[in-house]
Amino acid sequence: MLKTKKLVKIFRSDEVETMALNNINLDISEGEFVAIMGPSGCGKSTLLNILGLLDNPTSGELFFNGTDVSYFSERNRTKLRKNNVGFVFQSFNLIDELSVYENVELPLLYLKNSKAERKQKVMEVLDYMQIAHRKKHFPQQLSGGQQQRVAVARAVVTNPKLILADEPTGNLDSANGEEVMKLLTQLNNNGTTIVMVTHSPIDADKAHRIVQLFDGHIVTESIRKA
């Protein structure tokens, strides 16, 4: 589903150049659950952002379902992203001014779904995430675990083929973290490809494969489950 060839990302600021990713070759099949691990600043999030088409690589290639999307225009990346990718962030990144319902509804709005369709899909996913009773609340009124459930709901409401999660349990206590991991595993069991950046070996344990990054290189890849 996702394939990178010699992916390089260099950040430039005034006079300093930082090589965040160096020659990354990675192949992620459909239905896989991949965890990316490594110390802070090793390029995990950068890789995730490029995989999620939020950022362009400096060089190298990225294939999405066989299409070379490495240098897609912003417009095409947006199109591809909204139809295929869901994001879950460490700090949830919910929009404070929107209610739970509206936050989850947002991607559907950008997909131009009808109102009835949106309502049906949002309610379905909120029920599934067991957060429907708080649909009128605003993010600030929820606990961290609840916020992350809303964020996951928002990521999956469009039924994306790929979910990219950036330390989804990083801001949660263990009980809530476990809850979120359960949700992700369930989604993966239902066929969604998941790429997750994490610091937690326990969370990584849920993945099929663990990719270890260090200083922008892939150092090891270990397959956890067949």
């Binding site: 999030s45 950068t46 952002n49 999620g52 939020l54 950022d55 912003e74 417009r75 947006t78 199109k79 992203r81 909204k82 139809n83 994001f87 962030f89 460490q90 700090s91 990144n93 919910l94 929009i95 404070d96 001014e97 947002l106 991607p107 950008y110 997909l111 928002r154 469009t158």
Partner: protein, 806 residues
């Protein structure tokens, strides 16, 4: 503490350059516009106050009201001045008359210098006691201001005598009258309702026209009185009905009244016929001042908004102050000090701008503005109040807003006010939009009205017609010859003459007629014309026939007894059918006149005045005809060239060797009547341009702030799948909503103001709702342009940066 605040405020001014510049720029534009309008207002209110006795000087105005006719004249009969003084010595200290021949102006010659002089007056000697004159040169008392002497202004002296001493020299007026110069006085300032270049005693006039006119039926001169100290105007005015009854002609005394006009009111509050110079209207001045206050308000609102916006970038500094123990009051004081410093800088810039632009503004408004009007106690109080008031509001608003920040949130970096959710900001932006919209609608309507005034169908065709003043010239004596010479040019279609320029003014003449055997006397506006008048101006005859243009009007055997009236007058005689008035008699002094035709109404005056009755008459007596041949009107072919105008000049020179040739297009003369409206229009356009600039600056700053505040949200939205268009949309939504709401407030207010405004015009444009829409669209366009540019920039930024957690 204050010193510390000032220091911090001063540093912040440079640290946050973006906000400081926009703030100072916006506020100083607002202040400058206000200052210029303030100067203009003070200047207009200062008219005629340079006379020491100004508050005791009055001009006598004369009202004639009968049935539907209402005429208000600035002029009065010759005998009025002396009779008033004789009758009321306990009220009146002094009185005088001034008189001039009006247009065409007097030809003054000295040593081969010839000019047509507009400001040539005859006056009673008491003018020198009542009005202020500063004499630069003056001859001995016994020869000063006696019959056939003249006193002249400094600029007239410069024009005719240069550096030479004019005293004792003789000037020639209208190629015959010789007057000895006996004094030179300083020119009156621009702030005077009249200007003198030459003044000769009224006794000189008697030498020219025989005896001084004794009739009470001719409003020939302007009469001024100086009341005794401590006499109020009302006391004297109370006596005037009895005076009218005693002195005025029996035909008019029941319909006439007199009142006193304060000298300093003439410029702004007098809208009379026969004014000496064109005045202004107080409402125009107040509209300009009012709109400039609007503009200042918009600039203030900007200031308030920007300082909130600016304070957010300083969240850390403010939170540190709070952690260290700053309370609400201290924060308010801090922001007040900063606002004061900013507004003080703005004021300095505004003063500098006004100082540099004041002479241009003076030229545009045909005034001499004086920056001194700003450097006085009153102006300083106003200016100081404005900046203190602004500082207080800004300080309170920003101080209260920032003191409401939760420290915990600030430390967690969570304080944001991404969409326009801070209440005062929302309200102020709404207010700003509302005011801007009202102003825009006013400007557009006023412009529409001006176009309407200038392009209205006047009832006659003014196109390709040139007008030449010929009164007192050989051309009036040789009218027939002049005309036949002119008509030899194939591009001259027709020519006629008249006693006043059509569409600008008319004399009112006494007529009488019989209604149910009862003699009725009435004054009607009248134009005395020469042959081919209706044809030249393309005036439509509704009933009857034109004068027989081929007839010899001065023949002893054929008496021209025809007059032509307009539809308004005809309808007042016989409302049901104007046909019935043909051949009805309408007498002049001794005449036998019969109504020969009824013509379509046309505007005899500017469109400030409604349609009035009108009589058109041709003189039977050649001398009278020459006397009334004051303006030649020549209709040119559409294809006329400069050569045709040169041809007209050559004809002029055949009859007039010395007098300067003056030629004007009628359309130009007619348009000039709307000089004040033009000026107002210019002011309003400038102000609306400034409104767009100032509010544009504000919107730019607010959207910039929003874009910074919403960076993260935009990142999230983009990650989720929002396109550039979606982001732009997100930004515009709040502003569009705001503009729509502002329209709801602005439209009724603007409608109310426009209705009031237009009611001062006799002819007014229909209120077109398209203009309201246009104003709304303009505002929308301006805002969206700015918002879109900003949003486009943001939406193209990399969302990854926004989403980084640290």
């Amino acid at each position: 503490m204050l010193k510390n605040f000032l220091k911090i405020a001063y540093r912040n001014l440079f640290r946050y350059k973006f906000y400081s510049i926009i703030n100072i720029l916006g506020f100083s534009i607002g202040l400058s516009a206000f200052l210029l309008a303030y100067i203009y207002t003070c200047n207009s209110l200062s008219f005629d106050k340079f006379h020491h006795k100004s508050n005791r000087i009055y001009r006598i105005a004369n009202i004639y009201e009968k049935d539907s006719t209402l005429n208000k004249y600035a002029t009065t009969p010759f005998p009025l001045s002396k009779s008033l003084l004789n009758e009321y010595p306990e009220f009146i200290e002094s009185s005088f008359r001034i008189f001039n021949f009006q247009e065409p102006f007097q030809l003054v010659e000295y040593n081969n210098r010839n000019f047509n002089e507009k400001n040539f007056f005859f006056a009673d000697s008491s003018i020198l006691e009542v009005f202020d004159f500063k004499f630069v040169q003056q001859s001995k008392k016994e020869s000063f201001f006696i019959s056939n002497s003249v006193i002249i202004s400094e600029s007239a002296k410069e024009k005719y005598f240069g550096k030479y001493n004019p005293l004792g020299k003789e000037i020639t007026v209208n190629e015959g009258i010789r007057l000895k110069v006996t004094g030179v006085f300083k020119d009156y300032p621009k702030q005077s309702h009249l200007h003198f270049d030459f003044i000769t005693p009224i006794s000189t006039l008697s030498n020219i026209i025989g005896n001084e006119p004794q009739t009470w039926l001719w409003n020939a001169c302007w009469t001024y009185v100086l009341t005794k100290p401590n006499i109020n105007k009302e006391k004297l005015e109370k006596q005037l009905p009895a005076f009218v009854n005693k002195y005025f002609d029996k035909d008019i005394r029941n319909y006439s009244s007199l009142y006193l006009q304060k000298l300093s009111d003439i410029h702004l509050k007098s809208e009379l016929e026969d004014e000496i110079e064109e005045n202004n209207r107080s409402i125009y001045i107040y509209v300009i001042l009012g709109t400039s206050i609007f503009l200042l308000l918009i600039a203030m609102i900007n200031f308030i908004n920007l300082s909130i916006v600016g304070s957010v970038s300083r969240i850390k500094e403010i939170s540190v102050r709070k952690v260290l123990g700053a309370n609400k009051f201290q924060l308010i004081l801090l922001f007040m000090t900063e606002a004061f410093l900013l507004s003080f800088f703005s004021l300095l810039i505004a003063l500098f701008f006004v100082e540099t632009s004041i002479s241009v503004a003076g030229k545009i408004t045909d005034n001499q503005f004086n920056i001194g009007l700003v450097f006085n106690y009153n102006a300083f109080t106003v200016l100081f109040s404005i900046i203190v008031f602004t500082s207080i509001i800004v300080g309170l608003n920003t101080g209260l807003y920032t003191s409401g920040f939760s420290l915990l949130k600030i430390i967690r970096n969570k304080t944001r006010m991404g969409n326009l959710k801070w209440i005062s900001g929302k309200f102020l932006i709404l207010l700003q939009y509302t005011i801007s919209l009202i102003l825009l609608i006013l400007v557009l309507i006023n412009f529409n009205q001006l176009l309407f005034l200038k392009n209205s169908d006047l009832g006659f065709n003014e196109k390709n017609i040139v007008v030449i003043p010929v009164g007192n010239t050989s051309l009036s004596e040789n009218y027939k010859k002049v005309k036949s010479l002119l008509l030899k040019n194939k591009n001259i279609v027709s020519a006629t003459a008249m006693d006043n320029i059509i569409g600008t003014k008319c004399f009112h003449k006494r007529y009488f007629y019989y209604l149910n055997n009862e003699k009725k006397v009435q004054f009607f506006p009248e134009i005395t014309v020469r042959d081919n008048f209706l044809q030249t101006f393309n005036i439509k005859i509704l009933e009857g026939n034109d004068f027989d243009n081929n007839q010899n009007f001065f023949s002893d055997t054929i008496v021209n007894d025809k007059i032509i009236i307009n539809k308004t007058l005809a309808s007042s005689f016989n409302n049901s059918h104007i046909k019935n008035v043909i051949n009805k008699k309408l007498f002049r002094f001794q005449g036998n006149e019969k109504i020969a035709a009824v013509i379509k109404d046309f505007n005899t005056n500017s469109l400030h005045n409604p349609l009035s009755p009108l009589v058109i008459r041709v003189d039977n007596n050649e001398n009278d005809a020459i006397e009334n041949t004051k303006y030649l009107a020549i209709k040119l072919n559409e294809n006329f060239t400069n050569n045709d105008l040169k041809y007209i000049y050559k004809v002029w020179r055949r009859f007039e060797k010395k007098r300067p040739f003056e030629i004007k297009f009628l359309s130009e003369i007619l348009n000039k009547q709307y000089k004040n409206e033009d000026l107002l229009n210019f002011f309003l356009w400038m102000q609306s341009l400034l409104v767009i600039i100032i509010s544009g600056l504000g919107i730019w700053a607010v959207t910039y702030f929003l874009s910074v505040q919403r960076t993260k949200e935009i990142g999230i939205r983009k990650a989720i799948g929002a396109s550039v268009f979606d982001i732009i949309n997100l930004f515009s939504k709040d502003f569009i909503k705001m503009i729509l709401i502002a329209n709801i407030f602005a439209w009724p207010i603007a409608y109310f103001l426009i209705n009031k405004w237009l009611s001062i015009f006799a002819y007014r444009v229909e209120i077109n709702f398209f203009i309201f829409l246009l104003a709304a669209l303009l505002m929308l366009f301006q805002t969206l342009l700015i918002v879109w540019l900003q949003a486009f920039k943001v939406s193209n930024s990399n969302p990854v940066k926004a989403l980084r957690d640290e």
